[in-house]
C-alpha cells in the first residue's frame, strides 16, 4: 500500500483540489444558494492551501508516480499559475455584480474541475492522461462558457466551443491513435528514444521510412494543442467564445486554459524532441516541426493583430490579442531549444499578469459602464484614474514596451528566436507589436484623450486593490525580471 501512499503524497495538491471542488459543490447544496460569497471564500482558502503545497514543491526532485504522472517543477510552474489565475478569477466572480447567485457552487466546481484537468494535463508524458486532462478541462470550459444559460450569447458561445472542441479533441484522438499505431507506445519519452530492434517501434524507424504517416499523425495531435492555444487555423472559436462567455470565464479561458495548452505542447515537444539521447533523425524532424510552428506563429500573430485592429468591443479585441500572443509564445516554442522554452514560459508568466489584469479591468468597466465597447469608455480615465492607469500599464505590457513584464518576455522570445535562426520570425513579430500598439492604445486613447465622462466610477476596494497589485507586479517584474526568470529556469528541468 506504500506505493499508493507515496503516490498520493506526490499528487496531494491535485487531491486537495479535487476535494475542494467537491466541498464547494456540497457547500452550495447545503446553503441552497443563500450565502454565495462564502463559497467564494472557501474556494480562495482552498486554493491558497493548494498554492502553498505547490510552492513547497518547487525545485524538488522530479518523480514519476502511478506510472504516468510526472511530478516535476515544470508542471509545478504551470500549476502554480493555474492556481493563481483561478484564485483571481474567483475574485472576479466575487466582484462581478452581474453574476447570478444560484448555481454559484457549480460555477466554482466547474472552475476547479477545469483546474484539475489542467493539473494532470501539464504533468504527464502519457498521451492517455494528457487526453483525459485536456478533455476534463474542455468539458468544464464548455459548460462554463455557457454558464449564463439564459443568455443567447453565452449559449451560442458554449455551442461553438463544444462543436469546435469536440472536433479538435476527436482529431487529436485520432492522431494519437495513429501515433500509437506507428510507434507502438503511448508514452512520449519511450516513443522518442525506443529504437534499435528490427521492428518498427518508436519514432526513429518510422521517421526513417514513413515520414508521411508520421506527419499526418503529428499534425492531428498538434491541432489539438493549437486549438487549446488558439493558434491559426484552429483559432476560429476564440473570439466568439471569448465574447459570449461570462467575463471571468473568458479570463480563465484566455489565461489558464491557454497556458495549459502551451504547457502540454511544451511537454509534448520537449519529450519527443529534446530528451537526452534522441537520434539525429528525430532532431531533424524536430526542426521541421519547429519550422512548421514558426510559420504558424507568424500567421497567428499577424492574423490576431490585424483582426484586433478593427474591433469595437474591448472584450473581442482582447480575444484577438490573445490569439496574437499565442503567436508570440510560439516563437519560443518553435526554437525547440531550452532557452526558447524558458522564454515561452516566461512570456506565459508575463501573460498571466497582464491578461488577468486587462480582463479584470474589462470586468470593472463592464460593471461601471454597462458595456464593453471601447467608445463607451471615452474619458472614463478621468473618473476612475487608478484603474485606468493600471489598465494603461497592462496595455503597455501587452504591447511589449518597457518597463513592463511584457517587454522582458518579448525580449526573451526575440532573443531566443534570433539565437536559433528565426530572425525573420522575430522581424515579423516586431512589426506586429507595432501594429498592436494601435489597437491597444485605442483603449488608452478612449480612456484619457477624450473629455471626462459623465458616468461616476464604481468603488470596489478589493477588486481595485487586486488590479492595482497586478499592475504593480506587471511593472515591477518588468524592472526586476530576474526573479521570475530564475524561477522559470529552475522549473524548466523537465
Amino acid at each position: 500500500m506504500d506505493i499508493y501512499l507515496d503516490g498520493m503524497k506526490a499528487i496531494a495538491p491535485e487531491l486537495v483540489l479535487t476535494a475542494l471542488a467537491l466541498v464547494t459543490l456540497v457547500a452550495d447544496l447545503l446553503m441552497r444558494g443563500r450565502n454565495s460569497r462564502f463559497i467564494g471564500y472557501i474556494t480562495l482558502a482552498g486554493l491558497a492551501v493548494v498554492g502553498m503545497m505547490l510552492a513547497m514543491r518547487v525545485g524538488a526532485e522530479p518523480q514519476t508516480v502511478f506510472g504516468m504522472v510526472e511530478v516535476d517543477s515544470f508542471g509545478t510552474f504551470f500549476k502554480l499559475f493555474t492556481v493563481a489565475s483561478v484564485a483571481v478569477v474567483t475574485v472576479f466572480v466575487l466582484s462581478d455584480r452581474s453574476e447570478r447567485k444560484d448555481g454559484i457552487g457549480e460555477y466554482y466546481f466547474l472552475l476547479l474541475g477545469a483546474a484539475i484537468g489542467i493539473f494532470f494535463m501539464v504533468s504527464t508524458n502519457h498521451l492517455l492522461l494528457l487526453m483525459l486532462g485536456l478533455e476534463l478541462l474542455s468539458l468544464a470550459s464548455y459548460s462554463l462558457a455557457g454558464f449564463h444559460k439564459g443568455e443567447r450569447k453565452s449559449a451560442e458561445a458554449a455551442m461553438k466551443y463544444v462543436v469546435f472542441g469536440g472536433l479538435s479533441a476527436g482529431v487529436m484522438l485520432y492522431g494519437i491513435s495513429l501515433l500509437y499505431g506507428l510507434t507502438g507506445t503511448l508514452e512520449l519519452d519511450v516513443m522518442a528514444t525506443q529504437a534499435g530492434n528490427a521492428m518498427p517501434f518508436g519514432l526513429v524507424p518510422q521517421l526513417d521510412h514513413n515520414v508521411i504517416p508520421v506527419a499526418i499523425a503529428m499534425v492531428m495531435v498538434l491541432a489539438g494543442f493549437a486549438y487549446k492555444m488558439s493558434v491559426v487555423p484552429f483559432h476560429f472559436w476564440t473570439p466568439d467564445v471569448y465574447e459570449g462567455a461570462p467575463t471571468p470565464v473568458t479570463t480563465f479561458l484566455a489565461v489558464a486554459s491557454k497556458a495549459a495548452g502551451v504547457a502540454a505542447l511544451l511537454r509534448f515537444l520537449g519529450a519527443l524532441f529534446m530528451t537526452e539521447g534522441v537520434q539525429p533523425v528525430v532532431e531533424w524532424y524536430g526542426d521541421r516541426i519547429g519550422m512548421l510552428l514558426a510559420i504558424l506563429a507568424a500567421v497567428t500573430m499577424t492574423l490576431g493583430n490585424l483582426s484586433a485592429l478593427r474591433q469595437s468591443s474591448l472584450k473581442r479585441m482582447l480575444a484577438y490579442s490573445s490569439i496574437a500572443h499565442a503567436g508570440y509564445i510560439l516563437i519560443g516554442v518553435a526554437t525547440l531549444e531550452p532557452d526558447g522554452f524558458s522564454a515561452a514560459m516566461y512570456y506565459m508568466a508575463a501573460y498571466y499578469f497582464m491578461n488577468l489584469g486587462a480582463f479584470g479591468v474589462l470586468l470593472y468597466f463592464e460593471s461601471a459602464v454597462g458595456s464593453d465597447r471601447i467608445e463607451d469608455l471615452k474619458g472614463f480615465g478621468w473618473k476612475a484614474p487608478l484603474i485606468s492607469i493600471t489598465m494603461v500599464a497592462f496595455l503597455v505590457s501587452l504591447t511589449g514596451l518597457p518597463p513592463t513584464v511584457g517587454f522582458y518576455g518579448k525580449y526573451l522570445l526575440f532573443k531566443a528566436g534570433i539565437d536559433h535562426g528565426l530572425s525573420w520570425l522575430v522581424f515579423v513579430a516586431a512589426i506586429n507589436s507595432v501594429v498592436s500598439l494601435f489597437y491597444y492604445f485605442s483603449v488608452a486613447k478612449a480612456l484619457f484623450l477624450s473629455e471626462p465622462a459623465q458616468r461616476p466610477a464604481l468603488s470596489q476596494p478589493l477588486f481595485a486593490a487586486l488590479l492595482t497589485g497586478l499592475g504593480l507586479l506587471t511593472i515591477w517584474f518588468g524592472l526586476m525580471p530576474g526573479s521570475i526568470e530564475e524561477f522559470v529556469q529552475r522549473c524548466l528541468l523537465l
Partner: protein, 510 residues
Amino acid sequence: MENILSLITFIPLVGMMVIICLPKQAIGLIKGVSLVATGIPLVLATQLYFAYDPAHGADGSYWAEEQFAWIKMINANYHVGVDGISLPLVWLTSLLLFLGVPASFGIKKSQKAYYALLLLLEVGIFGVFISLDYFLFYVFWEIMLLPMYFLIGIWGGPRREYAAIKFFLYTLAGSVLMLIAIIALRLDSGTFSIPLLVEMASNGTLTGASLPGGGELLGMSFSTWAFWFLFVGFAIKIPVFPFHTWLPDAHVQAPTPISVILAGILLKLGGYGLMRACFPILPGAFVENAYFLGILGAFSIVYGSFVALGQTDFKRMVAYSSVSHMGYVLLGTGALTVWGTDGAAMQMFAHGTSSAAMFMVVGVIYDRAHHRDLNGFGGLSQPMPVYWGLTTFCFFAALGLPTMSGFIAEALTLVGAFQSSDTRFQALVLFSVIGIVITAAFLLWAIQRVFLGPLNEKYKDYPDMNFREIFCMAPLLFLCLLLGVFPHLILDKMEPSITHLVNLLQSAAN
C-alpha cells in the same frame, strides 16, 4: 556626489511620486514641486558640467560612472556615465525641462497629471543620455514614449489623438527594429555594455559570426542589417527624410512646452543615439554607408527648408525647419571628420536652444491669437516690440547668423563635410548651401508677415510678452549668443570625446 547621475535622473521621479500624492486642487504646490524637481537636476547638471574634465573622453572613457548588476540572467547592468557627447545634452535636458515648467503655467487642464507626466518624461530622457548599457538605454528610450503620447494626446490641439498615435507608432516602429538589432548584438557579443561593444567592434570581433547562419537576415549580412535597423530607429527620431512625417503633426498638435521639449531634446536623442550606440558599434557598415547618410542629411536640409518655405502654419514651418536643421547632424557625422562630427554635436545643442526658443515664440502668439496662420498676422512689432525683438533674435539664431551658436555648428559641419576624405561630400555641401539660403528666406518672410507691414487692427491691443514668457525664452537666447561668441565653452568639453569617436570610425574606414 558619487551618484550624481542617478540623482539627476531620479529626482524628477521622486517629484512625480510627490505630485501623485498631492491633492488635485493644490495646483500651486504641484507647480512648486515640479519646479524644484526640475531645478535640482539643473543645478546638479550644471555642477557636473563644470566639473567634467574633457581629457577624460580622449580615450573613450566615461565620467561619473555608476555600475551595478541589474538583471543578472541576461547580464544587463545599471551602467551609467557621461562623456563629452552626452554631458552637454544632459545639461540641455535639465535646462529645457526646467524652463518647460513655467512655460506650462498657462495650461489649465488636469494639471496634476500634466506635471507628473512631464517629470516622468524627464526621467526617460535623462536615462537615455546617461545609459551605457544597451538594455537600460532601450528601456529608457521606450519609457519616454509613454508620457509623450499622453502629453500630446491629452493637452494637444484639435488633431491631437492622431498626432499622438502617429508619433508613437513611428517611434515604436523604429525602436522594435532597434530592439532586434540590440538582441542580435547581445547574442553575438554576450554583453549589453556599450563601451564593451565599441571595443569589440574596433577589434573586429563583432561580426555576427556566433549567430546562426552568420547572422544573415533577408539576404543582408549581419552588420548591414543591424546597422540599418539601428539607424532607422534613430533616424525616425532625428527625423531624417523620409521618416519625418510624424514630426510636423506631433509638433503642431503638441502644447507649446511639449513642442519645446520635443524639438529641443527628443530630436537630439536620435542624433545622440547614432553617435553613441550605432556608428561606433557597427563602424564597418557605417563607413560603407556614410555617403548615403550624407545624402540623406543634405537632402533633409534642403528639403526641410523648402517645405518650410511653403507652410502657412507658423508652427508647421518651425517644425519643418527642424527637419532641415537636424539634417546637419547626419551630414556632419557622415563626413567622418572631427570638425564635421563636432559640428553635428554642436548642432544638436544649438538647435536644442534655438528651436526650443522658436516654439516658445509660436506659443506666445498662439496664446493670444489662438491661430497660427502666418498670413493672418501683420504689424505685430507695434503692439509687441519686445516680442518682435526676441523673435528676430531667435530667428537669426536659427538661420545660423555668426555670433550665434547655430553658425558655429553649421560652419563646423559644412567645413568638416567639405574636408571629408570622401570628396563626394563636397558636392553635398554645395547642395546644402541652398538650404541655408532658403532657411533665411522662410524665416525672414515669416518675420515680415507676422511683425512688419501694416498692423492688423484685430491685434492692436495685444499685450507684450510677460515676465514668465521672457523668463522662459531669455536663457535659451542667451545661450545661443554665448555659445556663438565663446564656442569653446562647449566645444572644449566635447572635442576629446568626439576625436576619439572619429578616430574609432576612421580606423574602421581604413
